[in-house]
Subunit: 201 residues, 2 copies
């Protein structure tokens, strides 16, 4: 399980999409949310857009690995698709904030690698939020203020990437994934393999 | 500090050379040895070929980060070049065995990332040892026996690479290096950088 967190506008979503296009073993966890879809967003791809009553039901039933309220809307990670993907040997990518990451550490049974994406500068962060053209000035200002809080949680993450350009950042996440897959404790069957090499197989 | 260990013949030396050619920030630790140079080996590049008396002097004076006797010859890692390279911000690559790795963990002040390289099969290991053409059949047999012992130490390493082909293995070490450099605790100045982003710099 790979968690990617950042203040909105740091480029996390763009990085995630590029990763998914390049890495066939990686699948994205699609969050459920009670907010309305933005133009271009697709139900089941960007989010599961659901009613507040259904969201409350999922919380009650333990169907979410983590959930949080942001700007009066609820967001959460459905448990079942994640467990299905992990069981199939896939790596799962999560685009969640620091609160979600903390809950995931507590609620998920699989091991978790966490990456925090920082913008290269305040000016660039604001420019990216404005250039989306999808939020009002008021929402951009709310997001800038929230970004400051979000960024204070970088010490809770395993890896830090300063997103200067997309290609380098995608390469950085790819390297982290490749390295984590090479860690001794993640390579199942190694003991048998080495015993075979040593003529004891 | 990046340690690369493997039974001889698994391809560690070839991987090391390719890495050094590709990664400008990486420098190789050159071992000191009391054995005689093989054809083509260069003093100061492949090894520092020194007298037994000088080697003993270095051991006594604490000038070696690790040392071991293999097949009646002494091998050791001189401390000063390593400390100079690390102080200059370089990463240092060590081509040492499991005994050396254990001593390095105890004696070196800097942090250490360790990788164990395994051959894809016993047959391939033997084929590589024979094709060198530099060792007698007796030495090849001694090395095969020693390979079995060496391989039993894989659980002491952070990462395991099965060396199926050179390009993939070099890519794997590159990914590990890139990922380790992105680890939060290795990125100096991050706290100041984030404070700057949050308007508290």
């Amino acid at each position: 399980m790979l968690v990617l967190s950042s203040p909105s506008g740091a480029g996390k979503t763009t990085i995630s999409r590029a990763l998914l296009a390049e890495d066939g073993n990686l699948t994205m966890s699609v969050s459920a949310t009670t907010r309305t879809a933005r133009p271009g967003e697709v139900h089941g791809r960007d989010y599961f857009f659901i009613e507040r009553s259904r969201f409350a039901e999922m919380v009650q039933g333990g169907e979410l690995l983590e959930h949080a309220r942001v700007f009066d809307n609820d967001y959460g990670t459905p448990r079942t698709p994640v467990e299905t993907a992990l069981a199939a040997g896939k790596d799962v990518l999560f685009d969640i904030d620091w609160q979600g990451t903390q809950q995931m550490r507590q609620n998920a049974r699989a091991d978790l690698v966490s990456i925090f994406v920082l913008p290269p500068s305040v000016e660039e962060l604001e420019r990216r939020l404005r250039s989306r053209g999808q939020d009002s000035i008021e929402v951009v200002q709310k997001r800038m203020a929230k970004a400051g809080d979000e960024m204070s949680h970088w010490p809770e993450y395993d890896y830090i990437i300063v997103n200067i350009d997309l290609a380098s950042s995608v390469g950085a996440v790819e390297a982290i994934l490749a390295a984590e897959r090479l860690k001794r404790e993640r390579q199942v069957g190694l003991a048998d393999f080495v015993n075979g090499l040593r003529g004891e197989g």
